[in-house]
Amino acid sequence: MERVRLRWLVEGAVVAALSVVLSYLRLWQMPQGGSITLESLPLLLLALWRGPRVGMAAGAVSGLLQLALGGYVVHPVQGVLDYPGAFAMLGVAGFLSRPWWGGFCLGTLGRFCCHVVSGAIFFGSFAPEGSSVWVYSALYNASFTVPSLLLNLALAALLWPKLRALSPSTS
């Protein structure tokens, strides 16, 4: 068991590092933080392969690293919600490993919820007058999480036959 846990620990660290590397390849950056990237892809795959616990731990490490290497923070709680919290929530993809795209959607939904809560509480002042801060936050965060999800799904669909062969559960 110790051997297995050690392997999970190393895989989590490697995937967190890979996610940080991918976070620098930004296709679009939003003004109040958030960007369209492939950073979620390795974390979602790890959650599907190794389950929610390992996926959430790796996500939290990745979020902390991104926070340490220059996160967009206006309040400590917002920093926790938008980085370790949101990335850890990607790990819930592990609860729905079949079909794989269902797990991707669930994990991204978890991340989206964290961003929406943070946005409504800490960036609500930027909402246009008369509009609900929750609707504003949901629309703002959907504008980068939905394209990111579509990009991740497209790339994973292209890679899936090869990725399935790499999956520890099938090897």
Binding site: E2, R3, R5, L6, R7, L9, V10, E11, G12, A13, V14, A16, A17, L18, V20, V21, Q29, P31, P42, A57, A58, V61, S62, L64, L65, A68, L69, G70, G71, Y72, V73, V74, H75, P76, G79, F126, L151, A154, L155, L158, L159, K162, L163, L166
Partner: protein
């Protein structure tokens, strides 16, 4: 090319205990977050740069200058357009420009503080410092391993990209979907390389008996010295003054009236 930020120097900042440097980083982050006006952020930025100069690591600024410039430019442009105080008929506002400058200063300040920390602290010191501060060893190990692996993965993917380009892969040609498809020969070898490295890494750790004994011994023994206590006192005093200035400005005004 060296992808790690750490610079091996024999300075007072390098000799500080990693826990002290973590506290300095947290204080600089907390104060940067607490203030939303340019003068206090400017003072804090000057202090962070002074700290970096003392540690003789400011030459690393050259390596992150593009990131800092892009963040500043992006923040200024975006906040000028979507920021507060815009009147009808104008594409941007003066308040938006000032707000953009403040956000740029705040974000760049935190990145520079992080750069100074990573340039003066070895990864094993960060890991050991986090453990001494109460983080579980496995969590600290995963965190420090991930930091260590980021530059290695960048180097691996750069090598793979060069190898595929030398075989005729043209990433710039074709439609958007074709470009995505062309990234498959880059992503798959990078993933395989990363997965292979986890195997080797796990075996190396296992062969050294990682995690088999609850009583861990460390090659690096941390001990707080006089300089550390002085720095901690300074950091806490700075944080206290900063937070009082932020939340109880009238207290500082009354002190100003008493002092000559």
């Amino acid at each position: 090319m060296d992808l790690f930020l750490y610079m091996d120097r024999d300075t007072a900042v390098h000799r500080l205990d990693p826990r002290t440097k973590i506290l300095l980083l947290l204080v600089s982050f907390a104060l940067a977050l607490a203030f939303s006006t340019l003068p206090p952020l400017g003072v804090l930025l000057a202090l962070v740069l002074l700290h970096g100069a003392w540690g003789a690591v400011l030459s690393n600024l050259r390596r992150i200058r593009l990131v800092l410039a892009m963040i500043a430019l992006f923040s200024l442009v975006i906040w000028s357009i979507v920021g507060p105080g815009k009147s009808a008929g104008l594409a941007f506002s003066w308040e938006g420009v000032l707000y953009g400058l403040m956000v740029a200063a705040k974000t760049d300040l935190m990145i520079i503080a992080g750069m100074v920390f990573l340039s003066t602290t070895k990864i094993e010191e960060i890991s050991q410092g986090l453990v001494k501060l109460g983080l579980p060893y496995r969590g600290a190990f995963a965190f420090s391993t991930a930091i260590r692996l980021v530059p290695l993965i960048v180097a691996t993917s750069a090598t793979i990209a060069q190898a595929q380009k030398s075989r005729g892969l043209d990433l710039d040609a074709g439609s958007f979907l074709e470009k995505i498809r062309k990234h498959v020969p880059l992503v798959i070898p990078t993933l395989i390389s990363v997965i292979r490295s986890t195997n080797v890494f796990s075996m190396a750790l296992e062969s050294r008996g990682f995690g088999y004994s609850p009583q861990r011994t460390n090659f690096l023994e941390l001990r707080m010295k006089g300089g550390d206590y002085l720095t901690v006192a300074f950091a806490l005093a700075l944080a206290a003054v900063g937070l009082v200035a932020k939340f109880f400005p009238q207290a500082l005004e009354s002190w100003g009236a008493i002092l000559p």
